[in-house]
Symmetry: C2
Amino acid sequence: MATINAPKEVSFQQDAEVLRKACKGWGTDEKAIISVLGHRDAAQRKQIRLAYEELYQEDLIKRLESELSGDFEKAMYRWILDPADRDAVLANVAIRKLSPDHHVIVEIACTRSPEELLAVRKAYQARYKRSLEEDVAAHSKGDTRMARPNRSFYLLVALVTAFRYDGEEINTRLANSEAKILHEAIQDKKFNHEEVIRILTTRSKMQLMATFNRYRDDHGTSITKHLQGDSDDKFLAVLRTAVRCLNDPKKYFEKVLRSSIRRMGTDEDALTRVIVTRAEKDLKDIKELYHKRNSVPLDQAVAKDTSGDYKALLLTLLGKED
Amino acid sequence: MATINAPKEVSFQQDAEVLRKACKGWGTDEKAIISVLGHRDAAQRKQIRLAYEELYQEDLIKRLESELSGDFEKAMYRWILDPADRDAVLANVAIRKLSPDHHVIVEIACTRSPEELLAVRKAYQARYKRSLEEDVAAHSKGDTRMARPNRSFYLLVALVTAFRYDGEEINTRLANSEAKILHEAIQDKKFNHEEVIRILTTRSKMQLMATFNRYRDDHGTSITKHLQGDSDDKFLAVLRTAVRCLNDPKKYFEKVLRSSIRRMGTDEDALTRVIVTRAEKDLKDIKELYHKRNSVPLDQAVAKDTSGDYKALLLTLLGKED
């Protein structure tokens, strides 16, 4: 379930006017901006952008970029974008890093629905005039792609280009045989075996869940646990992230939040990313998981680690009433 | 340009009535069936199916399957389907062969537009409740996928899952550097080098054409020529088909037609496939290429090699006036 509180009936023109007023003149009224945009869903934010453009012949996003700064600007920029377009931006930022952040790519590829991932690929092309897989493939050069064993390239591209079957059907026999294949490869430390890549990148999520369950039933331990190991092995790390995202996305996101807050110096990029991308989806469930796992409510942990307008926006997205 | 002659104004109900009459009673009026369906485009055929279903509470395709037989039935069945659905069927038939016909998979993956390929993947899932890449990956087992060097799997899956950028932009510098990478790999006979797979499966078609042109300019010979070699090397054969389909689909289709007709015993599957899938697209251009290359008009060659209703349908699709 979502965390944001968005009223059903909204006057987009009125919202645009409030935003214009908040941006005009000396200083910016960040509170007013948060109180509007922090309480609007994706469809509403889009309408507000259109209304703003029509009223003031100005791109609202560009205006906000020039008015805001720091983590707050980054978070607001990500929040205001359409979800698919936002994912395209997140992926591009991750790819262009000196050492590309493959976990963000895997997260987008494995936690979005097949149709959502497709929309991200379309948005990526519209924005960057190249395909997502093209950039993932070209930019993982010199990193995990060329390392021995060098199959991160295949794994990443196959995850990003997958358009998995989205039905509920499960083939139990297949789950059994593929749980066995996975176990054998993992036992032999052949993590990059092409059968492992094939299974994880082409099977439907429902089928994979059945396979992972079977794995746990047969061996008493989850496949994720068995994928712990050499922390320098980048391929293994990417593989583990993929399995976690496919198997239990909410649990995965809880852990990303936990790590981002726990660190010496909060990892704002990760914190922002999870809150912004999940606020309209399942952040309520992730919040519950977080509370249970850490014995601290998520909003409290976020409030402790952040400050100013950035904090105010995150807490609003987490469902705090004004 | 297309070859079929379809009138702009069609009464779908009247067409359905003619088809019903042709199927009813003793014997079937194949000529009537060809004269209707052989002159209707994909959108019209769909409307005729809907009209037929509504009028007679019967699936036209099923009815035709029970009335017709042999190569004619097969060709008519393929022709009447929506293009994306037809490609899904062609791919599935190719995959399920004892020795999967990877060239058909490559042909569909590399000669269709990115949006068309996507539609094929959706149609495949709707029909078979699995993803196309899932079946391609699972069924190439024991064949090229497991052979050494065993990267056909990656090549095939990456070709099938590609959603290439479809814009016109070309990066000349990139074309130069990637032409060089391809040439080095080919010179070293490292056809399955991951850089080769990366370039061919992720770059846009316009970009690849620039790269192939550059390759030819630098080395005086086309990349296709350089990919000739060991005819037992299945990976190399698949790679060569991919390059030919990406570089010049019409020339590729001309050659498929030429080989299908030249053989002792015509290869009806290939002949039907090319004529049926290209009749509404570019079969007119392919016909011209064929005539030029073989000094015989394509319709004449087809007429010589085929017979009966099958021949009549193919010639109609090739643009013959009744």
